[in-house]
Symmetry: C2
């Protein structure tokens, strides 16, 4: 179980925005990049969960340009996913296109490749059980099946699609697990239907986690989504030519925006389902945390600094500050650096309406956090006042901000940890803890961490305009890298 | 109505701590110092509400040493209350002692003095109506009565004492108002009793606002609280001698800790009540805000930046950050810089249990705010990290911090508004906006605002210990001033 499974590749779908997990998630910082439970972010958990059976170099991530920086930063450390394994979609076109691209790339690389498709932002606390299901699924996939992971319903949930299994004669059984043929995929049901499914048994939540051979899914696409399949073939033909980048753009421009469930699985006769013995949540909204997080004896999930008197069955989440609650019942309280949410659990799905409201009001809290991540590290706005702004800036070892200047603001830097290499006009010098310098308005400057530990500075900006857009970049280490099918394929072949 | 009433003095009782209004109030920053509703703090509202009929120099405040700085700062500006009018009790001994001291001081100053006794932290939105009641009360008080202000109950409240009036034959009637004799004072009743009072009519909430002649209350004290009355006479005899300060201490050491209600009013036959036509709240806990604050059409009181979907009859309070609420009913949500409270309205009185819990845990959030007020201005901790702390320091025009040094920390200052006069070792120099300086560890230094507008600096502290107690003061403008009965009396006599 803990050895790599030959020809198995992890394909992590990381395109989601996750407005329903606001205020923890933001439009520019979606759920997969967050530590919702535990010390790793959800995408790190997703990648490392299957690490015993899928090595780093066989881990692919498909995402959009907006999140690629954040994902690269997070998968650079313990996860060690090669940068070239991150496939960047020019535009988002739902899961069928993303999976099609990954399958096409995989088949070229390894004609016997098997894909373990996983959304980047699910929580599965029982890793060993999950890996056993994957192992069985790979065997079933080798027989040409499209294997889905079905979750046994614990409540009449109306937010998920359901899979109805053919109960008799499993396709394969092994160690208490069995793979069943799929009788039917069912769209999100209404409440009476969901209750009927729960009573009847044999219906499973569609987890969105799949295992199949790359060639199998491409074959099925050819019959169920012929236009998309033809697009993939055209793109594949351009591989290795000067047109490959253009071919990728063209495919995405014309690709149908449809999910793999609607586009392929519902129309296929090869679908199988393995009822999963593990706890699972798509953390689709705050109330779903109950499916995977441990609660206290009063049924409360408590994360952070919570002082409570007699609350029950509530989700209490404090990011930094103290949260005091009294006598709550079935409530959600989420307290973050710049926004707080309070709602009953059964209204948790309406958080997306709040986010929509904030978007229309152009409130920054729908878009970004107080802490903004950058390729070189991160910054946190500590305070904004009239004509000044205070930030904590953290630079990773070896990290370097762009050589830049500002038209309308001066900056004052005080080093509070590590060593800063400062370029200010013609001078280059090092600043240590408890040393400070000033950057006059209009002077080209650069901040760099030449050391092996994190560099922290406090930056005080003064000026009549302090927007992030007053920045003229003269040179930058982190120009957005063009990642394409071709590069990914070559990257694999050539090693990194 | 809007001319000063001869011989009328305002006596503002400002000893309260207000744990039930946490997290807005803190042990070291009680409710009277807060802007709960409107642009003035409650003590400012209290003093300015009666300003049309009580000039500043006839306004007295009785408080403890812990809050005197905060009160002086707040009553210095628009309220213009002379510093010497603030009576500082050596220890808190409930309202009978505080009122006794004020009455003794007043009688000496003005033998015909009439006291309008008001808690510093009540909200009364209808100023004109309030002043009409005071005018009537003064007339009744001149006839030797102890006049209480009774609030018509709107619900069977069990948190207040009640006053039962003698319904027939008012003592005095005037412009729709009438003063009635008191049949009985009733302790906080249980719920069935409170409901009975509400149905029966003729019962009023005891607002804790009183009007009487100083000589009347002292006469009544002589019979109802003879020991306390004797203590007052002893203290009065020491007035103007070298022993006056000691006499004050001695009085407070031995004074019985009892409220004026229990100690005098319940035992007196001179009590009268005027049913008050104004809205009133002691803001004793968050749910009482409903008695005085305007609500939206869904019954919500919304203060701050609130985004709501469909909540009803809730109190939503955001100090700075965004608060999003969905589908709440009868809830209280209070969001402050360092702590958030969520509870049902009917549990609002249990907030004091949360504060007690925090006190036992030695959590700073029960004691202080992120912003701490000082005689020279205030500071706000923006961030604390390992070996550094960031503060915004605001100094009032003319304000000057002590000449001080620190054993374990250096400081970096950046001016973001106003002009700073900096003493650093032997040097004295001015810093303007966008200029900075560093204060090395161990160097005597001082920060001063020589200008006529607020001075704001950002201070970054670096060191291995950053506690507020690492401060050696070499000179200070704000040594705690000894305020005593004698000084107050003299202050009045001599003018200020």
């Amino acid at each position: 179980m803990t050895k790599p499974i030959p020809h198995l590749y992890a394909v992590v779908l990381a395109g989601g925005s996750g407005t329903r997990f606001w205020p923890l998630s933001r439009e520019l910082y979606p759920k997969q990049l967050l530590k919702v439970l535990g010390n790793q972010t959800l995408i790190q958990q997703t990648v490392l969960r299957v690490r015993p059976i899928v090595p780093a170099e066989r881990t692919l991530v498909v995402t959009g340009a907006g999140h690629v920086d954040g994902i690269r930063i997070q998968l650079d450390g313990a996860a060690e996913v090669p940068k070239e394994n991150i496939l960047v979609e020019p535009v988002a076109r739902n899961t069928a296109a993303a999976i099609g691209w990954a399958a096409e790339a995989l088949r070229r690389l390894d004609p016997d490749g098997v894909m373990l498709v996983m959304p980047a932002d699910h929580v599965i606390p029982d890793e060993a059980k999950f890996l056993r299901v994957v192992a069985l699924a790979v065997e079933v996939a080798q027989a040409g099946k499209l294997v889905t992971f079905g979750i046994r319903p614990t409540r009449p949930e109306t937010g998920y699609g359901y899979i109805k299994a053919v109960g008799r004669r499993p396709l394969l059984a092994q160690g208490g697990l069995k793979a069943l043929a799929v009788a039917q995929f069912v769209e999100k049901p209404d409440l009476p239907t969901a209750k009927r499914y729960l009573r009847a048994g044999g219906y499973y939540w569609n987890s969105g986690i799949f295992v199949w051979r790359a060639d199998t899914i491409l074959e099925e696409m050819a019959t169920t989504l012929p236009k998309l399949a033809r697009g993939l073939i055209r793109m594949d033909k351009a591989f290795g030519t000067a047109d490959e980048s253009q071919a990728l753009d063209q495919f995405y421009q014309t690709a149908e925006s449809i999910s793999i469930d609607h586009g392929v699985l519902q129309r296929s006769r090869r679908a199988a389902v393995i009822p999963a013995p593990f706890r699972w949540s798509d953390v689709g909204n705050w109330s779903t945390l109950n499916d995977v997080a441990d609660s206290d004896r009063d049924g409360n999930i408590r994360i952070g600094r919570i002082v409570d008197l007699g609350s029950r069955d509530s989700i209490l989440y404090g990011e930094q500050r103290l949260v005091a609650t009294i006598g709550l019942k079935d409530m959600v309280v989420v307290d973050t650096a710049d926004a707080t949410l309070v709602c009953p659990k059964d209204r948790a799905q309406d958080v997306k309406q709040v986010v929509e409201l904030l978007r229309r009001q152009k409130a920054p809290e729908h878009l970004i956090h107080k802490t903004v991540h950058r390729p070189w590290g991160s910054y946190t706005v500590l305070e904004e006042g009239p004509r000044y702004k205070v930030k904590r800036v953290t630079v990773k070892p070896g990290g370097r901000l762009s050589l830049q200047y500002h038209h309308r603001r001066s900056e004052h830097w005080v080093v509070t940890a590590g060593t800063a290499r400062v370029t200010c006009g013609e001078r280059v010098f090092d600043l240590h803890v408890n040393e400070s310098t000033g950057i006059p308005k209009g002077t080209p400057h650069r901040l760099e961490n030449p050391g092996s530990v994190l560099l922290d500075i406090i930056e005080v900006q003064c000026g009549d305009y302090l927007g992030e857009d007053d920045i003229v970049r003269l040179a930058d280490d982190y120009g957005r890298t063009q990642t394409s099918l071709a590069r990914w394929g070559r990257g694999q072949g050539e090693g990194r």
